[in-house]
């Protein structure tokens, strides 16, 4: 399945991980480009991360013990800065 990540947009795809043998709890996906990018979902393996990075997306995986909210806010602030430029 494909999923559209809009230009200059941030999403988290935690609900799209089929967590069989997958070390991360959530994945933040940032599209810093001016183009919509299609990503493959659901996420089954860690190879997915490298594959999507090659498309020009910023991928930030988070683990159980990480603070999802602060990581998301940091990524969002970075994106907002990029948008303002």
């Amino acid at each position: 399945m494909k999923f559209v990540v809009r230009p200059l947009h941030i999403i988290s795809v935690g609900g799209y991980i089929v967590e069989v043998d997958f070390p991360y709890r959530n994945i933040i996906v940032v599209n810093p480009t001016q183009e919509p990018i299609k990503i493959d979902l659901p996420v089954f393996t860690t190879d997915w991360i490298d594959k999507q990075r090659k498309l020009g997306l910023e991928i930030i995986p988070t683990k159980d013990e990480d603070s999802f909210l602060s990581t998301f806010r940091k990524a969002k602030a970075k994106l907002e800065k990029l948008k303002a430029e």
Binding site: K2, R25, N26
Partner: protein
């Protein structure tokens, strides 16, 4: 000698796009069918146009408020979401739910399964082009919708579960129990009549037999879940492992062929099983209170809960910090079934592709998780 008489073959690859907004689709999704001689050779399904992420909105909200927000994930299985979300909190905070509340929750969940399966059958009949079947099924479904409205006060979002039990509004008195009993008798009779008529219709059977077939091995590889998985012959039903379902006897229905026919029959045959559970729950409904309010809020680690909902396995997970919700994840069954939908299209005639998608009971709204908020003073619509 020239070779003009030679037969030359040319492969014509045609793409037939459907959507994002299309009259044959109930929800916004884009289906690209790559066709050769009207046979689908590959399919690509795209969602995400409606995505905002309810989990993100839930971050930092008080747990009770966040739980009620989960109900907005889906208009068909709203009860499943709030129930599972409450189960996460109850697990983390070690809250004992009164037995009467557990039974009422089961009744609500099984009523929801009934209306979801009837909706599936009605929509399936509509895609088949059999509007009479479709309308009849919607008419039967109306009884379930009215029962849900009677208990919860709403037809779509009943808000039955709260942390520690069920809302006082959902208490079952003698009058309500009698109405549920009558409703179950009516639905059982009508659904069995429908099933008999449906199976004996050679036109319908020829249209759905062997279409979009999925094998057991493919279902395992594609992480298929719910009735779509059971339609391939794999006997997996999470209700068997859920302690809430322990007091009830029911059969796990399976089919063998994994095609549209098997999927439709799966739902038809699961309806009497749900009715069986509801009848048992009403018969043995324990006395006592319906809400346990003697619990204290505390911080928890990450808690996970899986339940079986009408479309398959539903996963909710979060942790609680200072009474607020953190690190929330919701995985709906449709997300794991989407790959199966794409796969089911391959090899079918183009006219059957939509049927192959619909056989997996898709719910893209629940998968994309968009809700619409109306700001009252200004009447501005805001999708979040």
């Amino acid at each position: 000698m020239d070779n003009n008489n030679k037969i030359t073959t040319q492969v014509i690859e045609t793409e037939v796009p459907m959507g994002t907004v299309h009259s044959a689709a109930l929800e916004p999704y884009r289906l690209r069918l790559f066709v050769e001689d009207e046979i689908v050779r590959d399919a690509e399904l795209t969602i995400g146009v409606n995505h905002r992420g309810i989990e993100r909105i839930m971050e930092g909200l008080p747990v009770e408020k966040a739980n009620s927000l989960t109900e907005k994930v889906c208009g068909i299985c709203s009860n499943s979401h709030i129930w599972n979300s409450c189960l996460v909190a109850e697990k983390g905070l070690e809250i004992d739910v009164p037995p009467r509340a557990e039974y009422i929750r089961i009744i609500m969940e099984e009523l929801e399964r009934l209306h979801s399966h009837l909706l599936y059958l009605a929509h399936g009949s509509e895609v088949l082009g059999h509007e009479t079947f479709s309308m009849r099924l919607f008419y039967i479904r109306e009884t379930v919708m009215e029962l849900l409205r009677m208990i919860g006060g709403n037809r779509v979002q009943y808000g039955a579960s709260i942390i520690g039990g069920v809302r006082p509004r959902c208490e079952l008195n003698e009058m309500r129990i009698q109405k549920i009993k009558e409703g179950m008798d009516y639905i059982e009779e009508k659904v069995l009549e429908f099933a008999d008529r449906f199976i004996r219709d050679p036109m319908v059977m020829s249209r759905i037999s062997g279409i979009g077939a999925i094998t057991k091995a493919d279902a395992r590889r594609l992480a298929t879940t719910g009735p779509t998985l059971r339609a391939t012959g794999i006997e997996v039903d999470l209700r068997r492992d859920m302690e809430q379902y322990e007091p009830f006897e029911f059969d796990v229905i399976t089919q063998d062929t994994g095609d549209v026919k098997a999927n439709l029959l799966m739902r038809v045959l699961e309806i009497p099983e749900s009715i069986k559970i509801i009848r048992q729950a009403i018969k043995d409904l324990p006395e006592g209170k319906i809400t346990n309010r003697s619990w204290e809020m505390q911080d928890t680690g990450i808690i996970r809960s899986y339940i079986e909902v009408p479309r398959g396995k539903l996963y909710h997970s979060y942790k609680i910090e200072d009474g607020r919700l953190r690190n929330s994840i919701i995985r709906t069954p449709s997300i794991t079934n989407i790959n199966t939908m794409e796969f089911a299209c391959i090899g079918t005639h183009i006219t059957d592709a939509q049927l192959a998608v619909v056989q997996c009971d898709p719910c893209f709204t629940c998968t994309d998780r968009a809700i619409q908020i109306v700001d009252h003073p200004f009447r501005k619509n805001r999708i979040i």
